[in-house]
């Protein structure tokens, strides 16, 4: 009886240890976004882009990287890890979200996003190809927790104005500003 109990305890300890290692590896050793099924759906309409026309490859990469950006943002906000933002954010967007995470830590409030997809419209592509401005109509469900207590949970349709710039191997979100002025 005692031996069986000891074996069970040992098995549970191993499971807990493996779980801890897996969690640590995911969040600390491989902090960048991973391509998995939680990648939000992003559509890009580049019919009105100008003055530079969008290259085929760019029209595939921009929505992909924007989806990764939202995935990493959701992960960073859920886990309070601002270093996750390094992968797909730069400039003011990165600074603002890093600050948001810092205040989440101070207040014990945290935001959880359930992403229902994005409709991107490309508006401006600089002649030198070094910046792109897009509009996003995002369908997201945002839950706000204070500790474990859910204090707000609602589906939101948010219009964002975005600036993205090319990095070494991906496009980065430089500015992400929710606006009521889109489409005016």
């Amino acid at each position: 009886m005692n031996r069986a109990f000891g074996v069970t305890i040992r098995a549970m300890s191993i499971i807990v240890l493996l779980g801890t290692i897996a969690f640590f590896a995911r969040n600390h050793i491989f902090p960048s976004a991973s391509a998995d099924s939680s990648l939000p759906h992003v559509e890009l309409n580049a019919d009105k882009i100008g003055p530079r026309s969008i290259e085929d490859r760019t029209s595939q990469v921009v929505p992909r990287d924007y989806a990764y950006a939202w995935q990493t943002l959701a992960e960073a906000l859920a886990s309070n890890q601002s270093d996750l933002l390094d992968g797909y954010f730069t400039g003011w967007a990165k600074e603002n979200f890093s600050n948001l995470i810092a205040t989440q830590k101070r207040t014990s409030v945290h935001i959880h996003y359930v992403d229902h997809g994005h409709k991107l419209t490309a508006l401006f592509y600089a002649p030198a190809g070094d910046v792109m401005q897009l509009r996003d109509q995002a369908q997201i469900e945002r839950q706000v927790f204070d500790g474990d207590k859910l204090i707000d949970d609602e589906p939101l349709t948010v219009d964002y104005m975005i600036l993205m710039t090319p990095g070494a191997d991906r496009w980065l979100v430089r500015d992400l500003e929710a606006t009521s002025e889109v489409g005016r």
Partner: protein
């Protein structure tokens, strides 16, 4: 009986005062401008302000106005105000950017050949003092100030916070300042204009002792600017031994090479896609 009903109604009213926490926020406010959120009910509650760059949490008294500080709404975007007593009430509002106060300027390329049509692009981003992109129309004045030439300007209306122009480079080499101004704010970049491809490439030959040399006249572009040292000039000799090409970088404005010649020879010169004159020479026996 009447007393019991009165006590009951009072308790209900007190409970309602303690739990009801309706809040009313304006639909839109300007970044960095304090404002108040009205609340109803009574008792203590927790106020949360969830914005694009910060979360605020503090205790408030229901029934009084909640003052939102300037520093709490510096970032444009969608905000959610939440007041929680026993239940939570929510109100959304937008923070719009304040007036345009900053310009970020991207100018490409940093070096450009002279007289190149629409070769320079300048893109200006208009933001307020908190770095929010100003989406309302703004007029940006682009300036081009070549060295030793008259300054030119062009006004462009920024849509969605972005204004851009394409510029043709000037005829003279040297630095040119490209700038953008918005009110009292301006940003400046320097583009180096360099000579374009060689023009009217011309070679001559001369014997120096027993050696035969071919050299160019000073290599200039079609506007008269000296083509930079290091630009490669190709000399090609065709004689009885066959065809030989030598690539020579321009040094102090000219390209010069020693070419052994056997019998009759034809020598041509080229730099990039530009070709020059042809020499017919006879080697010494």
């Amino acid at each position: 009986m009447r007393t019991a009903i009165g006590v009951f109604l009072t308790l209900v009213a007190l409970t309602a005062l303690a739990t009801a926490a309706d809040i009313h926020a304006p639909a839109e406010v300007t970044a960095g401008t304090s404002f108040s959120i009205a609340t109803s009910g009574g008792g203590k509650a927790t106020f949360y302000l969830v914005g694009p760059a910060a979360v605020v949490k503090r205790s408030v008294d229901l029934g009084s106005e909640i003052l939102v500080q300037e520093s709490e709404i510096e970032h444009a975007g969608k905000y959610t105000a939440i007041v929680c007593a026993e239940q939570c009430s929510t109100a959304h509002f937008y923070v719009r950017p304040s007036e345009g106060a900053r310009i970020s300027l991207l100018v490409h390329p940093s070096r450009v050949p002279v007289s190149d049509s629409e070769a320079i692009s300048a893109v200006a981003f208009v933001s307020d003092r908190f770095h929010n992109l100003v989406l309302t129309p703004q007029t940006v004045n682009f300036l081009v100030a070549p060295k030793d030439a008259t300054e030119m300007s062009q006004k462009v209306s920024a849509g969605n916070g972005v204004a851009w122009v394409r510029l043709t480079s000037g005829r003279k080499d040297g630095p040119v300042k490209v700038g953008a101004t918005l009110g009292r704010t301006s940003e400046l970049r320097v583009v180096q204009q360099v000579a374009a491809d060689a023009c009217n490439l011309h070679i001559k030959s001369a014997w120096e002792g027993r050696s035969f040399f071919v050299e160019t006249d000073p290599v200039r572009d079609c506007s008269g600017n000296s083509v930079p040292d290091g630009t490669v000039v190709s000399f090609t000799k065709t004689d009885t031994t066959g065809k030989t090409t030598v690539d020579v970088p321009i040094k102090k404005g000219i390209a010069k090479v020693e070419m052994p010649v056997t019998g009759e020879a034809h020598i041509t010169v080229a730099s990039g896609v530009v070709t020059g004159n042809e020499l017919s020479v006879v080697g010494r026996q």
